[in-house]
């Protein structure tokens, strides 16, 4: 029963409450709106101070809320060594919300304590204290007039950068020391490269890329202060021509390298040929006809034999000219001996030139040896050398006329004589008087022959020619070293091989010569008789007998 009563009662009360509440809210809101527009200012904040040249400085603050009313801001400072609180001397020069301290108000190395007070109709607001020393707040202005210049030298161009100090800084009195820094960027890269320039107001950048575009910025600082802002970018373009020149030279170098490489390849491929061309093989020593290995094996006799046989000894010219004497060999048995004293000694002898000759070449047309000794012509003439020659079988008695060859033989002439042997030889008496005279070659050796001690008693020397067809023999035993007819250093066997004896005198002015083979060895190839012996057939005037013995070894 009471519930319906309560319900109606509450309803009326709630509605009334709600109405009052709404009214109150409305009042409050209006009040609030009115109070926002006017309030004391908010607290300002001092941002920073800055001195660009260590002679003046400026401070900036940020104002707080102004409370809807016009608000004024004041800066007050206190300073070390200065009594009292002072206000900012200049609010305008540096812009709004700033305070500028000129030279008279600026002291270095002293502390400043700054505050900003914002005030409006409703109240004040004070910022926090800002303590500063001018020494700490230095930050210069940017450098000025940055100029770039590409300097072109022969080798490589470089970039020269100049600038000036900021206008208001005094760098000359030593009050501030300014230092610079710059940064350079190439157009392609986005990366700056920084360089310190110290106190210089210029800088050179070497090794720049031709055709590149460079961007430069500079900044500075005072003493130990902060760096300034960077200047605006300055650009420069490096001209391109240097690169062309270099690429030209690169092209030239590459082109010339190709034939060089080709030549090297050819050389390497054909290195054997090249080696042969450049370093020809040195011929080893070689003797014709001699087997090197034979020599090496050390059979001396064979080798020396080989060495000697193979020689074709040249005939010596001048030798003969000096030395030749010619004897007239005639067959006459008349003819007075010019010198009788020589008679006994003389033997008939033949003068046989001796030498190393490969052929017998006998020159004369005829030879007759005459004995001019009075006594016993026949005997004398019989003193022809014995013929014990094995060559008799051949017609070696015939001397073929041949041309007189000068220097066929190196030997000497020997006159074979019988050692005082008047024994009749088996010559026939057909010793005819010479019609002609012939000459026998006598070679005289001027130099003394040495030590050859050959005692060939068979030989005698023609001493003199007496008149025509006369020669005088010297029968004394010759040491071979005494005459010019020496055989050089030859031993007995060999010596005898060079000389031939007259075997007999033939009928037609023929002298039969004989090669005496004294050596016992049968190796001597004389027997082979490859040589020819000629016999002078006729004796003609001024003809010479020149017999050249066969070479002893064949």
């Amino acid at each position: 029963m009471s519930l319906p009563f309560l319900r109606t009662h509450c309803g009326t009360v709630g509605a009334r409450m709600w109405r009052d509440l709404g009214l109150a809210v409305l009042v409050l809101l209006s009040a609030a709106v009115e109070s926002n527009s006017t309030s004391p200012p908010g607290k300002p904040v001092l941002l920073s101070c800055r001195s660009p040249e260590k002679e003046t400085f400026t401070c900036w603050w940020e104002p707080g809320s102004d409370g809807g009313l016009p608000t004024t801001y004041r800066l007050y400072y206190e300073r070390e060594r200065l009594e009292g609180v002072h206000e900012c001397p200049d609010y305008w020069s540096a812009g709004s919300n700033s305070c500028f301290f000129n030279k008279t108000h600026t002291l270095i190395w002293v502390d400043y304590y700054l505050t900003v007070v914002a005030s409006n109709a409703l109240g004040n607001a004070t910022s926090d204290i800002f303590k500063m020393d001018v020494m700490e707040i230095m930050k210069p202005n940017v450098p000025e007039n940055v100029t770039l210049l590409v300097v072109e030298t022969e080798d490589s161009p470089y970039l020269h950068i100049r600038w000036e100090h900021p206008r208001n800084t005094d760098t000359e009195s030593g009050w501030v020391t300014i230092k610079y820094e710059l940064r350079i960027k190439q157009e392609k890269n986005n990366k700056w490269k920084e360089y310190m320039s110290g106190t210089q107001s210029h800088f050179s950048l070497y090794s720049i890329a031709p055709g590149g575009v460079y961007t430069v910025q500079v900044r500075c600082k005072l003493d130990h202060g902060s760096w300034s802002e960077w200047t605006n970018s300055t650009n420069v373009k490096v001209p391109n021509y240097v690169q062309n020149e270099r690429s030209f030279w690169i092209l030239v170098a590459t082109l010339s390298a190709i034939p060089f490489m080709a030549a090297m390849c050819i050389l390497i491929v054909k290195r054997e040929n090249v080696k042969q061309c450049v370093l020809p093989p040195v011929p080893g020593p070689k003797i014709r006809g001699v087997d090197f290995h034979l020599l090496m094996s050390g059979q001396s006799e064979d080798s020396t034999n080989a060495l000697i046989i193979n020689q074709n000894f040249p005939l010596i010219v001048g030798w003969k000219d000096q030395m030749e004497e010619y004897l007239i060999v005639t067959e006459n048995d008349i003819g007075p001996p010019s010198d009788a004293s020589h008679c006994q000694k003389r033997k008939k002898s033949l003068i046989i030139p001796a030498g190393f000759c490969s052929d017998w070449e006998i020159q004369c047309k005829s030879t007759h040896i005459q004995n001019d000794c009075a006594g016993g012509t026949k005997n004398e003439t019989g003193n022809f050398p014995k013929n014990n020659k094995s060559l008799s079988g051949e017609s070696l008695s015939y001397m073929e006329p041949s041309k007189l060859q000068k220097q066929q033989c190196l030997g000497q002439n020997f006159v074979n004589t019988e050692a005082t042997d008047p024994s009749p030889l088996n010559y026939d008496n057909a010793v005819k008087p010479f019609t002609n005279s012939g000459y026998v070659d006598i070679r005289k050796h001027v130099e003394n022959t040495q030590e050859v001690n050959v005692k060939q008693v068979d030989y005698s020397r023609v001493e003199d020619v007496n008149g025509d067809n006369v020669f005088i023999l010297n029968n004394k035993n010759l040491a071979f070293n005494s005459s010019g007819y020496m055989d050089f250093q030859r031993q007995e066997e060999k010596l005898s091989e060079d000389y031939s004896r007259v075997k007999e005198v033939g009928s037609n002015n023929v002298v039969v010569l004989q090669i005496q083979d004294m050596s016992a060895d049968t190796k001597n190839p004389h027997a082979t008789g490859a040589h020819k012996m000629g016999v002078c057939t006729e004796l003609i005037n001024s003809e010479y007998i020149d017999t050249i013995p066969a070479p002893p070894l064949m």
């Binding site: 002679e55 002291l107 502390d111 760098t171 030593g174 009050w175 003493d223």
Partner: protein
């Protein structure tokens, strides 16, 4: 023979290097004579100035570094009401605080000011180094810097004295520079004031004073021998 050749060439190279090095060292060790004695390489005034300016720049750099380190460790109370101005013990020495003031000051006076400052910091820096070295919060690097700073102020003072002598010789300043006679007379009367200062304050004061010394030296140089670097 190849090994012999190699050995000979190595010996030769070593000899050449030794010779070269000895020459370099000998050049660097040329003595400095204020009087142009025979065989002595006398430095010019500009050279002397350059040397002391470089020295002072380095000294100031070290003090700057140490101060930054201190700020990291100690976070000195910037929040404090900074009205408590630090009274450096050298604040009694009158130092020009602006460019015009410094340029207006006589050379002799300026030289004296420099010397006074340098003399005043000799003992405090030594004690500062001692206290740093024993403090566990600092590493050896800081302690070394403090020691170097202390040595440098000593050497810089000698350098400036030489410069003053040379200037007197050249007649640039008069001979009556009292600071040269008895440096200790330059000390402020209550020289123990600095003992009351905290390490951080000492460092702060010295950073400021080393900057002053550097600046004054530069001004002197550009006024007297303005050849290079002015």
């Amino acid at each position: 023979s190849w090994s012999l050749f190699f050995l000979v060439s190595v010996v030769w190279v070593v000899l050449v290097c030794l010779l070269f090095c000895s020459r370099l060292l000998s050049v660097g060790a040329a003595p400095i004579c204020t009087n142009a004695q025979a065989g002595c390489h006398a430095l010019s005034l500009a050279n002397l100035f350059d040397r002391v300016i470089q020295h002072s720049a380095r000294m100031h750099g070290i003090s700057n570094d140490l101060h930054s380190e201190f700020e990291q460790y100690f976070l000195p109370s910037k929040n404090q009401i900074g009205r408590v101005s630090r009274n450096c013990h050298t604040s009694t020495i009158f130092t020009p605080n602006g460019k015009e003031n410094a340029q207006r000051m006589a050379r002799q006076e300026l030289t004296e000011v420099i010397l006074k400052l340098l003399v005043a910091w000799r003992d405090p820096l030594w004690h500062f180094h001692q206290s740093i070295a024993h403090h566990h919060d600092f590493n050896n690097f800081s302690a070394n810097k403090a020691l170097e700073m202390s040595d440098m102020v000593h050497e810089l003072r000698k350098g400036v004295e030489k410069v003053a002598e040379k200037m007197q010789m050249m007649g640039i300043i008069s001979n009556s520079v009292s600071s040269l006679a008895s440096p200790e007379a330059l000390l402020p009367s209550d020289s123990a004031e600095w003992r009351l200062m905290k390490d951080y304050d000492l460092l702060y004061c010295f950073r400021r004073d080393s900057n002053k010394v550097q600046n004054y030296l530069k001004i002197l140089k550009c006024r007297i021998v303005p050849e290079h670097g002015c």
